[in-house]
């Protein structure tokens, strides 16, 4: 009898342990922000992180009932994390995204809450239309811009250009002529974070636009047959091979990742002359080595034109902005807090000033006077004019396309930069993926 009961007790304890273990596993979701109200938010490190932190502090001090709590993640792993969390209905209330095709995936799957009509009206009145459009699908608005507009520009190190006696490139031929010049001086002409893959894309985006204009990529987004085999895509691929063959990219570019900061470090340590990168790189360099920016050694220019190309030389590519979107899995109270924050907290006066201080241009209306008075005025005005005067502002392709196509694009592009495949093979591979 004693033996039996002991057995039973052991069994009970074991079963209890199992259930406890299972329960502990089930309740470890990241969505809880503590209590009923308040909104959790996922955002990216770098770039506008400091602005978010200041905003969180200010907002929470004034709105104890509707607190926001930010969590920051590095760029490269962030997209997967968000996707998994949203797929599992375990996402934060707010999450940073790029708008475009990947956000549309979530909206189509019914994972997003469309903004309320009153918030939509407020957003449309406050922000530049071209930026708002990137997050609106089927007549509904799904995102609020939360940081500066991010055009891709060609950064260069003024010192190094003076050293070899060169001018920043205006045309593609200029750029190709600069390559041997810098190489002879023992300087890498271009820094490229090829290990992250998406920086490769900036070359393709700009070249295709310069050669064939914005319609080429629009055809790809629309899924027109043969859109990937457009002569402009093939020619852009050939020009990329031309750059690679000339040895234009810094030593070991295939393994340099952007998040680790090495590609920007090459520029400010004087090891590479230029880097094609989004406008967020200004803040990254300023944070890493503010002297380099203060002393005026960091300079920037438009992507070179291509002789005979049909694209407008004023066209730009990049990210019109990043957005906060509200997930459907959050509770009604959380959603209410989130909407309140999006309406009154995001891009209030102090928020805008903080973005400006870090060299970001918020995509809000009527900013001209503030820009001229802000620190970093030349950089801010350059960006604002660039965006304002651009006939076409192309969202990064990996974000504009659905996420599965975006990933194939990056992998195939990596192969193209390694010269493992020809531009024709690249076009063929991408046609198979579709849009």
């Amino acid at each position: 009898m004693i033996v039996f009961s002991r057995k039973k007790a052991t069994l009970g304890a074991a079963l209890g342990a199992v259930t406890l273990f299972a329960a502990a596993c089930g309740s470890s979701g990241p969505s809880g922000s503590g209590g009923g109200g308040g909104a959790s938010a996922w955002a990216l490190t770098g770039g506008s992180q400091s602005t978010f932190q200041v905003s969180q502090k200010n907002w929470n001090a004034a709105n104890a009932k509707d607190k926001v709590s930010y969590q920051f993640y590095a760029n490269d792993a962030y997209k997967q994390k968000v996707r998994v969390a949203i797929g599992a209905n375990d996402a934060p209330v707010l999450f940073e995204n790029w708008g475009g095709g990947s956000l549309k995936d979530y909206a189509n799957a019914g994972k997003l809450e469309a903004l309320t009509p009153s918030l939509t009206a407020a957003v449309k009145a406050k922000y530049l239309p071209s930026v708002v459009n990137v997050a609106s699908f089927g007549g509904q608005l799904y995102g609020v811009p939360i940081n500066g507009t991010q055009p891709v520009v060609l950064y260069y190190n003024k010192d190094l250009f003076a050293k070899v006696g060169a001018q920043p490139p205006k045309t593609w031929d200029d750029l190709m002529a600069l390559v041997p010049k810098f190489k002879a001086a023992g300087i890498a002409p271009l820094s490229l974070a090829g290990g992250s893959k998406w920086p490769d894309l900036m070359y393709l985006e700009y070249l295709v636009d310069r050669i064939g204009g914005p319609t080429v990529f629009q055809n790809i987004v629309d899924g027109k047959p043969g859109a990937w085999s457009d002569p402009a895509v093939i020619k852009a691929g050939q020009m990329i091979h031309q750059l690679v063959s000339a040895g234009a990219f810094a030593n070991g570019y295939q393994s340099i990742t952007y998040d680790a900061g090495q590609s920007s470090a090459l520029l400010y340590t004087g090891k590479a002359a230029m880097q094609l990168m989004g406008s967020w790189d200004y803040a990254v360099i300023q944070a890493a080595q503010s002297d380099f920016v203060k002393s005026g050694k960091l300079a920037w220019t438009n992507f070179p034109t291509v002789t005979g190309g049909q694209g407008d030389p004023a066209d730009i590519v990049g990210n019109p902005a990043n957005y906060f979107s509200v997930t459907k899995s959050s509770t009604a109270v959380e959603k209410a807090s989130a909407e309140k924050y999006l309406k009154d907290g995001v891009m209030d006066g102090a928020y805008v000033d903080d973005l400006l201080k870090n060299g970001n241009v918020p995509p809000v209306n009527g900013l001209e006077s503030k820009l001229a008075a802000a620190p970093n005025a030349p950089w801010l005005t350059y960006q604002y004019d660039l965006v304002k005067n651009a006939p076409s502002y192309q969202l990064s392709w990996d974000q504009a396309l659905s996420s599965s196509a975006g990933d194939s694009l990056l992998t195939n592009l990596d192969q193209l930069f390694l010269k493992k495949i020809t531009p024709q093979q690249f076009a063929q591979n991408m046609s198979k993926v579709g849009k």
Binding site: K7, T10, L11, A14, L15, A17, V18, F21, A22, D76, K79, Q80, R83, V84, I86, G87, D105, Y106, A109, K111, G194, G195, K197, A250, N251, G252, Y253, Q254, S255, I256, T257, A260, Q262, A265, L266, K271, S403, S404, D407, S408, D414, Q415, L418, K420
Partner: protein
């Protein structure tokens, strides 16, 4: 691992309440190993992007997998990693283990030093090596134009070198563990055997080949099984150091699975790859146990 417990069960005298005793472990195993595996098999014949509904795909994932050059390449790479890491790790850890089994005090000190990599997390190891081997700012680059110019290579960017860099780092991380196994194995060999060998006039090297090595037979099998099956799961170090690149040069099977599932959002095909991994792991460990005579384990110290 399954092989070990199976053989142990055969040998143990029957009696008591073995099933009841095994119940907690079985429950945990079923809940966290078998059940997910069943889901993976179901997913491998489904279509799912991680967001929408799961739909039936039949053999589409499998036929796509069969025809995919990328996955075939990943399989080949995994086989290469498996063979090279075994060839590199086994002799090193065997010799280190034998060396560390000695009772001298300096050896105990060295043992502590050798085991350090074992204590570091894989992520830390990978990040450290990624920075050490950085093509522009890494330690290796400071060796340029010196006596060690040979080491100033682009270890992570060169498509011909990167796989071996990865194998090296993995070996660096796991050799201490296998040395530990061998050290324990050597210490269990009865001293009388060496005495007998010495009386017969065996030299140190002869003692190693005719006493130590045969006595370590089962340790070698255990260590090899862990190494070979373990190389099917190498993910963290490779993912952090190279992300599977450049191109496809280090896209091992587990990485291929992750990238297919979590970056291309094709969970169906990723699950098919997972099934391949499970099957390969089972086949290798069962095969090793069967052909090495591990399941007929007998005392080797007879006559000692």
């Amino acid at each position: 691992m399954t092989g070990i417990s199976a053989s142990a069960r055969v040998k143990r005298p029957r009696g008591g309440a073995p099933l009841l005793m095994a119940l907690p472990a079985l429950l945990l195993f079923g809940l966290f190993a078998l059940l997910p595996m069943v889901f993976v098999v179901i997913l491998s014949v489904s279509k799912w992007d991680g967001l929408g509904d799961i739909s039936w795909a039949g053999g589409a994932n499998w036929s796509h997998l069969w025809n995919s050059g990328v996955t075939r390449h990943a399989l080949w790479l995994t086989a290469k990693v498996m063979i090279f890491s075994w060839v590199i790790q086994t002799p090193i850890s065997l010799l280190l283990g034998v060396f560390l089994a000695g009772r001298q005090r300096y050896r105990a000190l060295l043992a502590a030093v050798f085991f350090v990599p074992l204590l570091l997390s894989s992520a830390a190891v990978a990040l450290a090596y990624r920075n050490l081997l950085d093509p522009n700012f890494g330690l290796t680059q400071s060796l340029k134009d010196g006596p060690f110019d040979l080491l100033a290579k682009d270890w992570l960017g060169n498509q011909n070198l990167v796989l071996f860099t990865v194998i090296f780092v993995i070996s660096w991380q796991f050799v201490p563990f296998h040395s530990l196994l061998y050290q324990a194995g050597v210490r269990q060999i009865p001293a009388t055997m060496y005495e007998a060998a010495r009386l017969d006039g065996a030299s140190t090297i002869q003692q190693f080949f005719f006493v130590t090595l045969p006595q370590l037979r089962y340790t070698i099998v255990t260590s090899s099984t862990l190494m070979l099956v373990g190389s099917l799961t190498y993910f963290d170090v490779v993912f952090i150091m190279t992300g599977g690149g450049p191109g496809y040069s280090t896209r091992l099977l587990p990485l291929d699975m992750y990238i297919t599932g979590f970056q291309s959002h094709d969970f169906g095909e990723a699950s098919a790859i997972a099934v391949v991994l499970v099957a390969a792991g089972l086949a290798i460990s069962l095969g090793l146990v069967k052909f090495s005579g591990f399941s007929r384990m007998q005392s080797q110290t007879a006559g000692a």
